[in-house]
């Protein structure tokens, strides 16, 4: 199991372009908003949390395909399935690795985004907490859809079509937490709900990912 993790990390760092591109995309999308709606600090603060979260979801959709695409195409996934290791565990490892290499850089980038959009310190703290809890959810649920579309030639847009509606609750609770932080209100409830969703996903998603990969192998 550790082998999968190590290999995926090594692969991620060997294909740095794929790692960096979604991040650059994220940065550019966030830049578009002040240009589009005007640089008023209050406006930016108002839309900031939503913009960051929407950009995070979109950029994660861009890089999501990478999760199983190469392994499926070159047959490594077949060999993994025939190794006798439980597929759900292998899939979970891959998701964990994917999360680390996609979203940790995003977290590192987040202060810059917060500055661009004029977020207060309280808002930034709330944003980081929601990102920490919410992005694993993106990876886990996203992996199910990636598993389903991995065998298709043009899975990219379809993936977004499948996932965007599913991610709406996360977007709502996450932005509402940051909004609450802006008004100095407690936002524990939102965090708790995101945490609960994450727990449900952690319980159900691995089996669903394994199943969807099996469907794709058929």
């Amino acid at each position: 199991m550790g082998g999968v993790f190590k290999r995926d990390l090594a692969l991620a760092f060997r294909q740095k372009a794929e790692l960096v591109q979604p991040l650059m995309f994220l940065l550019m999308v966030v830049t578009l908003f002040p240009l589009g709606v005007g640089p008023g600090p209050d406006t930016l603060q108002l839309i900031g949390p939503g913009v960051i979260w929407i950009a995070a979801i979109l950029s994660s959709l861009m890089g999501m395909e990478r999760l199983f695409r190469d392994d499926f195409a070159d047959g490594s996934l077949e060999q993994l399935q025939l190794s006798g290791l439980p597929l759900y565990a292998v899939a979970t490892m891959k998701v964990l690795c994917h999360w680390l290499v996609t979203f940790i850089p995003l977290l590192i980038l987040s202060p810059l985004l917060a500055m661009f959009l004029n977020l207060t310190v309280d808002m930034y703290i709330a944003l980081v907490i929601t990102l920490l809890l919410g992005t694993p959810l993106l990876s886990l649920v996203g992996a199910i859809a990636v598993g389903l579309t991995v065998g298709l030639q043009r899975g990219g847009v379809l993936l977004a079509l499948l996932l965007i509606p599913v991610f709406i609750p996360l977007l709502i609770f996450a932005t509402s937490a940051v909004d609450a932080a802006a008004l100095q209100l407690p936002y524990r409830a939102q965090i708790a709900i995101i945490g609960a969703m994450l727990l449900i996903a952690m319980a159900l998603a691995p089996a669903a990912i394994a199943y969807s990969l099996k469907v794709s192998q058929n």
């Binding site: 649920v141 199910i144 859809a145 389903l148 579309t149 065998g151 298709l152 043009r154 899975g155 379809l158 079509l161 499948l162 965007i164 509606p165 599913v166 709406i168 609750p169 709502i172 609770f173 509402s176 909004d179 709900i193 969703m197 449900i200 159900l204 669903a208 199943y211 969807s212 469907v215 794709s216 058929n218």
Partner: protein, 251 residues
Amino acid sequence: MWKWLHPYAKPERAYQLCNTLLPWFALPAVVCLVVGTIWGLAYAPQDYQQGDSFRIIYIHVPSAMLSMSTYVAMAIAALVGMVWQWRTAYMAMIAMAPVGAVMTFIALLTGAAWGKPMWGAWWVWDARLTSELILLFLYFGVIALYTAFEDKQQAGKAAGVMALVGVVNIPIIHYSVEWWNTLHQGSTITKFDKPSIATEMLWPLLLNIFGFALFIALVTTMRLKNEIIRREMHRPWVQMLVKQKETNDAV
């Protein structure tokens, strides 16, 4: 029940079952819809607040209710297909999807047409309308995934997984949208709440809900029949069936 149901997992038997069920859905559906709609439009009393515009309720509420239930039914069919490996269950699931999407569309449009006189705007980000819109997206996702696959067996399984993911999400979406709505509700929006609906108003509504349900069942059976033929085209029983039909038509 399992023993009784199992033979119908075979497409051929399922097709026969569809044929027997079809008239039982068709006739009551038409009767319920016609009676319910005429009753609702002409005989039900006016709402003292909304006047006659409230009559849209007779299609808005049934379609909104049943668009959700159809999605749940899809997920149940997918689960049955997954657990017992029934090919027909997946076919039934995919037969339901377009009907459910149409119901969602009707619910959205009637919601907008109702909203215009009530709120003064065609589209208001009301909790129920927003959930319906997201539900429509979920339907789109399932249908798009199904059509993307060349191998329909695989397509059914994949769309089934997505339907299940969606059904786990529906309550969360519902709750989250309601949360979001109360949070951002600046102006006072009168919701669709039916304040103590009178019984004379209720009967046609119930009739129409029933009629819509039967209509969905009817179209689903028709589409299921199509799906079975499409998938079993090369099997002898389909060819026999068509031949029989041809000779019947000739006579």
